[in-house]
């Protein structure tokens, strides 16, 4: 997927840089894959295999049906071997990806209208 043609508000850059490009307990690659799966337009699309299979249900439901997430989902991530800091980062990456796709679609529509 190509990079977005829209410009995000400046205040968002710090958030994106830290969460999706900065140091953490999880790898930058994993956070970017998760954000892209959640829809983040600015993340390069990668092969679906880049996302560990055990993460896919959590990422997809948190991105698309957030109200269906329960404590059982967090327990499942722990059982799969993720520690609390990793779960913290992964949930934030999904949330940011879901937010970015909505912002990007809206800004793109605004640009279409102006063109």
């Amino acid at each position: 997927m190509s990079r977005p043609s829209v410009k995000f508000p400046a205040v968002i850059a710090g958030l994106v840089n830290s969460v999706l490009h900065g140091p953490g307990e999880t790898s930058v690659l994993l956070r970017q894959v998760v954000a892209a799966r959640a829809g983040a337009p600015s993340m390069p699309r990668r092969e679906p295999a880049s996302l560990p299979a055990e993460l896919a249900p959590f990422v997809d439901r948190l991105a698309n049906e957030p109200a269906t997430i329960s404590s059982a989902d967090i327990v499942a991530l722990r059982v799969a071997g993720y520690n609390e800091d990793e779960i913290f980062e992964l949930a934030i990456s999904v949330a940011l990806g879901a937010g970015l796709t909505r912002l990007e679609r809206g800004l793109a529509a605004l640009q279409e209208d102006e063109a």
Binding site: I69, G99, R102, E112
Partner: protein, 190 residues
């Protein structure tokens, strides 16, 4: 909270909130846990999105945030944003908008914006130029659209944090205290 590390989030801000409010708001715990990774940057976006805008009042923006959270079926965030909106717009108006925004007694530009906000939240891939034209016909400026989109962005994040980490809706009295705090100091404290 579903992560014990969030229960242990420290810092003077959390201690002060605990002392003033008698509880630690869930969002504050998330903001103050490893703030260099997320909370500091998220707070900057939150402050920009939900301060008084150039096109929309603070009450309108908080109402939009409560509306987004209600569409995401996120009770904790619907109540927290709704409580702040009610300080500006009145509890009854907030209740009516969250119940049925198509018949609620609000301005037509605000109603048109809520239609847009709902689509951005639930059907983002279907948002297009037609939606923008409808907003313009309703008298919404480009700045008004940008402010609404920033609310959609930050609330999409907040709602997913609430569901992931298990935010508990505050009791009504505690919620009102937090809303007063948010009204007078913005999102600097919580």
């Amino acid at each position: 909270m579903r992560l014990t590390v969030l229960e242990e989030a420290g810092g003077w801000q959390v201690a002060l909130l605990q002392k003033v409010l008698g509880f630690t708001p869930s969002l504050a715990a998330v903001r103050h846990y490893r703030p260099e990774f997320f909370g500091k940057h998220y707070a900057a976006v939150l402050r920009q999105a939900l301060r008084r805008g150039e096109a929309w009042s603070r009450g309108d923006l908080e109402l939009m945030a409560a509306f987004v959270s209600s569409r995401n079926q996120c009770e904790a965030a619907t109540r927290s944003h709704g409580a702040v909106a009610a300080l500006y717009l009145g509890k009854e108006k907030v209740r009516q908008v969250l119940g049925d925004y198509l018949t609620a007694p609000i301005s037509e530009p605000l109603r048109a914006t809520l239609v847009f906000v709902e689509k951005v939240t639930l059907l983002p891939s279907e948002v297009g130029g037609d939606d923008i034209q409808r907003l313009r016909r309703a008298g919404i400026s480009e700045q008004g659209i940008r402010e609404a989109l920033l609310v959609c962005f930050v609330t999409a994040i907040t709602d997913r944090l609430a569901e992931s980490f298990g935010f508990e809706p505050a009791a009504e009295g505690a919620q009102k205290s937090l809303a007063f705090l948010s009204r007078f100091v913005g999102y600097r404290a919580g």
